[in-house]
C-alpha cells in the first residue's frame, strides 16, 4: 500500500510544534501548521532549534531534525524564556 504522506507529514508537524512549545517557548498563533514560509514564526523557531542543537540550519523538517527531536532528552527548555 502506498504510504499516506499527508498523514505522516501532519504527525511530523505536530511533533515539531510540541517540541518547540516544550523546549523553545513557541506559541501557536492559530495559522495553519502547513504554512511554511521563510519568515513564519515556526520556521524561525525551527532555525533557532537547529542552530542550538548543532544541526544544519534549514528551517525545514528534514530527516536529521526529525531524528533528533524524537530522541530522549532533558525536559528543561533550551531557551532562556523561563523563570
Amino acid at each position: 500500500f502506498p504510504v499516506d504522506m499527508r498523514e505522516k507529514k501532519e504527525e511530523d508537524v505536530q511533533l515539531i510544534q510540541k517540541y518547540l512549545e516544550n523546549y523553545y517557548n513557541f506559541k501557536k498563533d492559530g495559522e495553519s501548521s502547513f504554512v511554511w514560509k521563510n519568515n513564519s514564526p515556526i520556521t524561525k523557531k525551527i532555525k533557532e532549534m537547529q542552530e542550538f542543537l548543532g544541526l544544519e540550519v534549514t528551517g525545514k523538517l528534514d530527516s536529521n531534525t526529525l531524528d533528533l527531536i524524537q530522541k530522549p532528552r532533558c525536559g528543561f527548555p533550551d531557551v532562556a524564556g523561563f523563570s
Binding site: 516544550n22 523546549y23 542550538f52 542543537l53 548543532g54 533528533l68 524524537q70 530522541k71 530522549p72 532528552r73 532533558c74 525536559g75 528543561f76 533550551d78 532562556a80
Partner: protein, 378 residues
C-alpha cells in the same frame, strides 16, 4: 550558565532522595546519585551531604505525568528528567520521569548519567550547545570508561564555583564524600617566568603538550593561542606530576609515566588495562622512574631517559636495549639528567632546567639553545 548566573552561596550542599524508582534496587539509586555528585565535587570545591529527612538544598524524586511543578512528564521517551537552577523552594530540585526504564548499565536510561546532567542544572549550568558536552540536552548512551564531563562542562562549573582543591579525585572509584581539603592552592605556574621548568613534554595530535604539576598547556606550533588545563579534567584517573610522556601518532596513542607506572591514552580516554608497571616494557628492576621519553618517528624507536643514561626500544623488532647508554654518547652536547624531550619536525628538543636545547640528529649536534618557554608567546 542561567540568566543572572544563579548559584549556591555555600560549598557544602545537602540532598535528599524523596522516593525510589522500582526499576532499581534502592542501594543502586543511592550509589548512582552519590557518584553523580562526586563527579561535580571532583572539579569544584563543592561537597554534597545526604539527608534522610527535612528539607535539603537538592530534593530528588521520581514522578509520572503531572507532579505539581507545572512541567508534566510525557510518558516513556521524550522528556526524561528536569531540574531547577539554584534557589529557594523548587530551586536545585531534580525530578526523574518514572515512565522511563532506569538502569545502571548502558541499556535503557542510565540513572547516573541523567542525574549528572540534571545536577548540572541544580548547580547552575544551563544547556550547552556543544554536542559533546554532558550539558547538551539530548540524552545519548555514555561510555563508562570515559570521564563524563567535557571541557565545556568543567569550564562552566568552575566559572561558578572555582576549581577543586584536590589534586587527584576519581569520582568513578570514590564513593565517599571527602573531607574538605586544605584551602590553600599552590600558585598557578607562570608560562613566561624565566624559571619555568617542565615535568614532561609530548606531541599530541598535532599539538604540543607541556606538563607541569597538575596542569598542562596545549599549544599548536603555528597558532599563537595557548590552552591551559587541569590534567584531571582530561584524564581524571591520572596523578599529577607526570614524569615523562611520548606520542605514537600512527596509533593515536600517548604514553604517560609517573613513578614505576605508565598509562596509555587516546584523546581524553585512558585505555583499559592501565596503569601497568614499567618493567613490562623491559626495564631492569633498579629503574624506579623515567625522567623523559620520546618516540623517534623516523627510526621507529622510543628513547627513555633515566639520569645520565638512556634506553631505546625498537618498535619494529619489539625489543629493548639490554643495557642503557650514556646520553652524551648518542646526543653530543646533551649532558646529565634531562626534564623532558619531544620531537618536532626533524629536531629533538631537550629540556634541562631553564634551558631548551635543539638537537639536529642529522648533524649530531645542538643547533640552538632556547628558553624553556620558547614555544609560547611571551
Amino acid at each position: 550558565t542561567f540568566a543572572g548566573e544563579p548559584k549556591w552561596a555555600k560549598q557544602v550542599l545537602t540532598y535528599r532522595i524523596l522516593n525510589y524508582t522500582p526499576d532499581l534496587h534502592p542501594a543502586d539509586v543511592d550509589a548512582a546519585i552519590k557518584k553523580a555528585f562526586n563527579v561535580w565535587s571532583s572539579v569544584t570545591p563543592l561537597k554534597f551531604v545526604k539527608k534522610d529527612r527535612d528539607h535539603a538544598d537538592i530534593m530528588i524524586s521520581f514522578a509520572v505525568k503531572g507532579h505539581n511543578d507545572f512541567i508534566p512528564f510525557d510518558g516513556p521517551g521524550g522528556s526524561i528528567a528536569h531540574a531547577y537552577a539554584p534557589g529557594k523552594g523548587f530551586g536545585g530540585d531534580a525530578h526523574f520521569d518514572e515512565d522511563e526504564t532506569w538502569t545502571k548499565s548502558t541499556e535503557g536510561t542510565n540513572l547516573f548519567y541523567v542525574a549528572l546532567h540534571e545536577f548540572g542544572h541544580s548547580l547552575g549550568l544551563f544547556h550547552s550547545k556543544d554536542p559533546e558536552a554532558l550539558m547538551y540536552p539530548v540524552y545519548r548512551k555514555f561510555d563508562p570508561s570515559v570521564f563524563p564531563l567535557h571541557q565545556d562542562d568543567t569550564n562552566g562549573i568552575q566559572h561558578l564555583y572555582g576549581r577543586s582543591p584536590n589534586t587527584y579525585n576519581d569520582p568513578r572509584e570514590s564513593a565517599e564524600i571527602k573531607e574538605p581539603a586544605e584551602p590553600k592552592e599552590p600558585a598557578l605556574p607562570d608560562i613566561c617566568s624565566p624559571d619555568l621548568t617542565f615535568d614532561a613534554v609530548t606531541t599530541f595530535r598535532g599539538e604540543i603538550m607541556f606538563f607541569k604539576d597538575k596542569h598542562f598547556w596545549r599549544k599548536h606550533p603555528s597558532v599563537r593561542a595557548v590552552d591551559f588545563n587541569l590534567i584531571s579534567a582530561f584524564w581524571p584517573r591520572l596523578p599529577s606530576g607526570v614524569d615523562a610522556a611520548y606520542e605514537v601518532p600512527e596509533k593515536d596513542e600517548t604514553v604517560l609515566f609517573k613513578g614505576n607506572e605508565f598509562w596509555v591514552v587516546r584523546g581524553d580516554t585512558i585505555l583499559p588495562g592501565y596503569p601497568q608497571k614499567i618493567y613490562v616494557l623491559g626495564f631492569s628492576k633498579d629503574v624506579t622512574k623515567i625522567d623523559a621519553a620520546f618516540y623517534n618517528r623516523n627510526k621507529g624507536k622510543i628513547y627513555y631517559f633515566i639520569a645520565d643514561k638512556f634506553w631505546s626500544y625498537n618498535k619494529r623488532s619489539q625489543s629493548m636495549d639490554r643495557k642503557p647508554r650514556q646520553i652524551r654518547d648518542a646526543f653530543p652536547g646533551i649532558n646529565g639528567k634531562i626534564d623532558a624531550v619531544f620531537q618536532h619536525k626533524n629536531f629533538f628538543y631537550f629540556f634541562h632546567g631553564r634551558k631548551q636545547l635543539e638537537f639536529d640528529p642529522g648533524k649530531k649536534r645542538v643547533t640552538r639553545v632556547l628558553k624553556t618557554n620558547f614555544w609560547f608567546p611571551c
